[in-house]
């Protein structure tokens, strides 16, 4: 069809797209793969199974998982409230949801560290009343990642709740279902795929996040050191091999997550009848 169309400009547009994509993205990214070919399998395993490296993977994945779960729970409530209820200041809150997405991560990092540090506004409150220290602990990483995750969850759930046909709800309640039954059996199952997509997006972003985390984390090896920071540390020690091996592992995991997200979105579209 490209040949028979009367539309002009296919050749220049596609050539520029492919050349530019190769120069800026594909060639630089492929060096990571080629660089790691210089490592033998044993070297690779040796680097990855190092205790500090394994700890950083554990810290990154567990904090991203908890943060994505918390953000999914509250994000769902926020999306629900924004779509279904009207209250004073709703438009303002609606506009604010994207703030974590627009705010540079370094700014988010120093702001959250200032709020949650032991002498900070919330940090002091939490220590005085519950004896819980947030900053410079894994809990601080979770807080930063919740902040980052909010728009991912709210913005994937919101459109699905908006498009949701109320006729199904009406049918259920006219047949005598309670509000809770309608929610549990009609609404939630329909929104769940979108919620899962939002959760996966938040989780994938959280695992790779750097700027907003390092200021609040304390960055203690084995305890609160995240994978991206370990890559930077290896680079600063001119340990290119170590940095490459860890980065490649992260990259492969991210791509698997990306595949999963795409499959989820396909499932969501199919269920909502768009395919």
């Amino acid at each position: 069809m490209a040949q028979s169309s009367i539309m002009p400009g296919f050749r220049p547009a596609i050539s520029f797209t492919i050349v530019y994509l190769s120069l800026v993205v594909l060639i630089p990214l492929s060096t990571l793969v080629f660089q790691s070919f210089q490592l033998s399998w044993d070297d690779y395993v040796h680097i990855i199974t190092n205790k500090r490296v394994l700890s950083s993977f554990r810290v990154s994945f567990s904090t991203a998982l908890i943060a994505a779960l918390v953000a999914s729970f509250f994000g769902f409530i926020v999306a629900w409230v924004l779509v279904r209820y009207s209250f004073f200041g709703k438009r303002f809150f609606h506009a604010l949801i994207d703030f974590p997405f627009a705010l540079p991560t370094a700014v988010a990092g120093i702001v959250l560290a200032t709020i949650f540090q032991p002498s900070g506004f919330l940090g002091k409150l939490l220590i005085d009343s519950f004896g819980v220290q947030v900053a410079f602990k894994p809990l601080g990483i979770v807080m930063a990642l919740i902040f980052i995750s909010i728009p991912f969850v709210v913005r994937t759930v919101e459109p699905v709740l908006l498009e949701f046909e109320s006729s199904m709800e009406e049918a259920a309640s006219s047949l005598g279902a309670t509000r809770l039954q309608v929610f549990g059996k009609i609404i939630f199952p329909n929104v769940f795929p979108a919620l899962l997509t939002g959760f996966a997006l938040a989780f994938a972003r959280g695992v790779g996040e750097y700027g907003s985390v390092i200021f609040i984390a304390g960055n203690l090896p084995y305890v609160s050191e995240i994978v991206p920071l370990l890559i930077v540390t290896k680079l600063e020690q001119f340990d290119i091999e170590g940095a490459t091996a860890i980065a490649l592992t992260m990259l492969v995991i991210s791509f698997l997550l990306l595949l999963l997200i795409n499959a989820l979105q396909y499932w969501v579209r199919k269920r909502s009848g768009q395919l």
Binding site: M1, F74, A95, T105
Partner: protein, 288 residues
């Protein structure tokens, strides 16, 4: 990622539910209370704190923090980076959207997936790959050293890493919109004898201008605010390779709180402007 950057029609948010589908008052008010406190805690509080901290030592200290030479150099470098990367990625976004939405060809969905790649790469890895290519031990490292060309720990490296990070933003905004629009209008213009360029400027561009503007805006916000990738390739040389986010980091680590938050307030202001323009864009689309 797509879902996040797609504008939601705000007018649709205020539809009235039939009486039978309304939740009990106590449910409604407790959910609103939970949502509002959550957003206040995690979003309003950080936003307020940036402004409060930046002005904590008075407006003069704020002005002084922003007019010292290192801060000015950081602002200049940030503007330069955005001025190079945003136009390049905008031209790319339009070209890619044109090719993908106006023609059928093999490998189209692969191409669309590849364009999204930078979104799923950790910022630190985005910086690392440029070190692997251009660094002292990188692929072309010896060649560059022999010719005394500096890319890593210099401005070109910062620009390249930013190009990579902000690569998908414009294309991601345009592709779904142009897909939905179809190409009947352009075909009509072409069959009436308009040239390709004329069709683009007079038919396509007016239709996509708001989405294009929003894509440019997001691209610019990220180009000015990127931290992880830039921090890996920059080398943190004061006055030379520190962008504004790196300047914020350096000042914060040296306990220069006013300096850090003065820089941060500019970046937060940029984020707020982006949000306001986004809201305006949503209204524009809702009123159409």
């Amino acid at each position: 990622m797509n879902a996040i950057t797609q504008p939601v029609n705000p007018a649709k948010l205020v539809e009235r539910q039939p009486l039978a589908l309304q939740d009990a008052d106590w449910v409604r008010w407790s959910l609103i209370a939970i949502a509002v406190s959550f957003i206040s805690l995690f979003i309003c509080l950080p936003l307020g704190l940036v402004i409060f901290k930046a002005l904590s030592k008075g407006i003069e200290a704020y002005g002084a923090a922003l007019s010292e030479p290192d801060a000015l150099a950081a602002i200049r470098l940030t503007l330069l980076t955005a001025m190079v990367t945003v136009p390049l990625n905008t031209v790319f976004g339009v070209a890619a959207a044109w090719a993908i939405t106006r023609f059928e060809f093999k490998g189209k969905s692969l191409l669309t997936t590849l364009i999204d790649l930078p979104f799923s790469v950790s910022p630190v890895i985005s910086g690392l790959i440029f070190v692997l290519v251009f660094g002292a031990e990188g692929w072309v490292g010896d060649w560059l050293i022999a010719r005394d060309i500096k890319i890593i720990f210099a401005v070109p490296g910062i620009i390249l890493a930013t190009l990579f990070i902000t690569f998908p933003f414009v294309a991601r905004q345009l592709i779904p919109l142009m897909q939905e629009m179809g190409n009947q209008e352009e075909e009509a213009a072409l069959s009436l004898g308009a040239s390709g360029w004329k069709t683009f400027w007079a038919v396509t561009l007016p239709n996509i201008k708001w989405a294009l503007l929003y894509g440019v805006l997001l691209c610019n916000a990220r180009a000015m605010g990127e931290f992880g990738a830039v921090s890996v390739v920059s080398g943190h040389i004061r006055g030379l390779t520190n962008t504004l986010p790196l300047h914020v980091e350096v000042n914060y680590n040296e306990y220069n709180i006013v300096g850090a938050f003065a820089g941060a307030s500019i970046l937060a202001g940029l984020a707020v402007v982006t949000l306001i323009l986004k809201t305006v864009l949503e209204w524009q689309q809702a009123n159409r």
